[in-house]
Structure formats: structure tokens, C-alpha cells
Subunit: 205 residues, 2 copies
């Protein structure tokens, strides 16, 4: 067994690097660039340049740019559900409060200076072709979101839970888009208010 210096191996000298992994740096950079500027707008050359790696390194970790984009979205998916579940867990057994908490945070995020909408939604717009790796991830995320919103609407006791769930989804998607279209002060800031109004109206039916 080695004496020292290798449980976290060599801080990384000039080249011949250390386990922090090129793949992680690539994905981090890609995530940032893809989200802020769009997937089609960013070339692999720029990704590797900003990540401080070379192109073959990218293609050793990812079979293609399309699959790199899909990886970015799979990570986005995880973080999305983290945020969603955080709102859910903050109000156990109270779906209306869960929705309100989630949408309040969405509304706040849409008002931030560099807000660029939902990475999933944007990717689906960029890749309309069915079966594209990025779009597949995006569609799965949205299907699941719809399923959960409808279930929550039913749990609230709405007369027509499916319709209310879909209405909430429309408001959310509208907030994502409006956030990047109008910036701060845009319609997205009222998403939580409007959602609560819609819920109120749907429960009274």
C-alpha cells in the first residue's frame, strides 16, 4: 500500500491529469453554454476550448454532440425534480400549498437577470424532430410533470382534475417562455397568483 500522496492523487500538474475527470468539466461547460445560448448555437470546439480539454476527450466520454446535449438534459431533469420535490416536501399532504410554493419560486426565477427559460422546453423547440436524443429526454420530463400536476389537481378535489392539472402546466410553460421573452417585470411574475386563482375557480365547480 502506498505511503501517501495518492488517496486523492496528485493535484494535477501541467498535463497528464487527475481524476476530476475531463467528462465532468465538459458537461459543466456544456450545461452552462447550452442553457444560456442554446444547443444549436454552440459548437463542440467552443465547449472543449472553454473546458480546457481537447475534442477527442469529448468524444471519448460522449458518442456525439446530440448525446452530450441529452446528458445535459438528463442532469437538468434531476435538478428540476429536486426543486419540485423540495416544494412538495415543504407542505406534506397539501397539494395546493405545494403548487403555490413551487410556482412562487418559478415566478422569482423568471425575474432574474440572466433567466433563459426551461432547458427542456428550449431543447424541444430547437429540435422538433421526433426521436432526437435531446427531445426524447425533454418529452419524458414533460410527460411526467403533466402526470404529477394532474394527480395533484385531483388530490386537491378539483371537479375536473385533469383539466386543472393541464391548466397549471400551461401557466408554467407560459412562465418559462415569458420569462425569457419579457425579462423582469413580465407576465411570468404573476404565475403563482394566476395559478391560485385558477385553482380556486376549479375547486368551486
Amino acid at each position: 500500500m502506498p505511503t501517501d500522496k495518492n488517496i486523492e492523487p496528485t493535484i494535477n500538474n501541467g498535463h497528464a491529469s487527475a481524476p476530476p475527470k475531463a467528462a465532468k468539466k465538459i458537461l459543466d461547460v456544456a450545461r452552462d453554454l447550452f442553457y444560456r445560448q442554446g444547443i444549436r448555437a454552440i459548437g463542440v470546439d467552443e465547449i472543449v476550448r472553454r473546458a480546457g480539454v481537447t475534442k477527442p476527450s469529448l468524444y471519448r466520454s460522449f458518442p456525439s454532440k446530440d448525446e452530450l446535449a441529452a446528458s445535459y438534459l438528463r442532469q437538468y431533469d434531476l435538478e428540476f425534480w429536486d426543486r419540485f420535490d423540495e416544494a412538495v416536501n415543504a407542505h406534506p399532504g397539501d397539494p395546493r400549498a405545494q403548487i403555490k410554493a413551487f410556482l412562487t419560486r418559478v415566478g422569482k426565477r423568471t425575474q432574474m437577470p440572466q433567466y433563459r427559460g426551461c432547458g427542456m422546453t428550449n431543447a424541444a423547440v430547437e429540435y422538433p424532430e421526433h426521436g432526437h436524443p435531446a427531445r426524447v429526454v425533454s418529452e419524458a420530463n414533460k410527460q411526467e410533470l403533466r402526470r404529477r400536476l394532474r394527480a395533484m389537481a385531483v388530490a386537491m378535489g378539483a371537479g375536473d382534475g385533469d383539466t386543472l392539472g393541464d391548466g397549471l402546466l400551461l401557466l408554467i410553460e407560459g412562465a418559462y417562455i415569458s420569462g425569457q421573452l419579457f425579462g423582469a417585470g413580465g407576465p411570468a411574475q404573476s404565475v403563482a397568483t394566476n395559478a391560485d386563482l385558477l385553482i380556486e375557480a376549479s375547486l368551486k365547480k
Copy 2:
């Protein structure tokens, strides 16, 4: 005055063509391709090929691809307001019925097989950079839509007209996006119903 054959001038022999105008053919093809597949996804070579013209012809009528995209959107803008005003004019003095008529048609359109959302919205997603010619047209269209929706909400007598107007805009944008994400049977089909519910709730305040 010519004897015949020129009120609609010469069916267009092999080359050296007739007035049908290259610019119009180019814009028609670009419009179709840009809408269905996205602006970034389509190259100028494919546009001129499908239009049966050559690249110099394109650049004689349009200073750049970006400006061609902007022209496409300006035409889209005109047709959008045609549809909008059609719904408005069908119900003079009754903004709630106007909104309902417009959204019923939007809901129907989102269920059509080749539906690809709103060209304006999609362009803004594709070009996040401020000042891009395509984005400028898109933003102007959305600003005006917001202004009119808010005015209509106020005219309905809503307690908070601005919030209701923004809520309607969120639902509309959500329908555009959901329409292309989910296809037929998706949440967009309920946009008119949800909008009416939201209006009802906002008037009672």
C-alpha cells in the same frame, strides 16, 4: 398592346424568368422551412434549392439570412393579427367572448398533426441574444399582445386587469409550447376552458 400571353406573363421557360418574383418564392419557402424545422436548422442553400432559385437571388432581395428570418416573422406578425382581429370582430364589445373565440381556435390549431407552436416564440428561443433582427420582431409582437390582452381584461371589468391579462398570456404561450411538445391530446386542448375559468375567477374579485 400585346395580343395575348402576357397578362400573366409567359409561363416561365427554362431560364431567364418571369415576374412571379424570386423574392416571393424565397420568402414562401423560407417561411415553411423556418416554421417547421426552425431557423437555425435551415441553411440558405436548402432554401434556394427548394425555391428553385440561386443564392445571389436571395442576397439581392435580402441583406442576410438573419434579415430573411426577420422578414418571415414580419409576415407571420401580420397573419397573427389577422387571426386575432377576426376573433375580436366576431364579438364586438364583448372582450370575454373575443378571448374565448380566439383561444378556441388556438386550442384547435395546437391539436393539428404538423403543429409547431408560434413562430415568434420559437424564434425568440432560438435567438436569445438581444438585438438580433428576428428577436426584435418577436419581442415587439409579444409586447403588443400583452398590451391588448391587458386592455381586454380591464374592459371585462376584472378586479386586477393587468394580472388577468398576464394570466391569459401565460396560458396562450403555454398552449403554443405544449402543442408542439405533447401533440394531439396534450394540455393545450384545454386552453380555452382554463382561460374562461380564470376569467370567471378574476371577475368575481
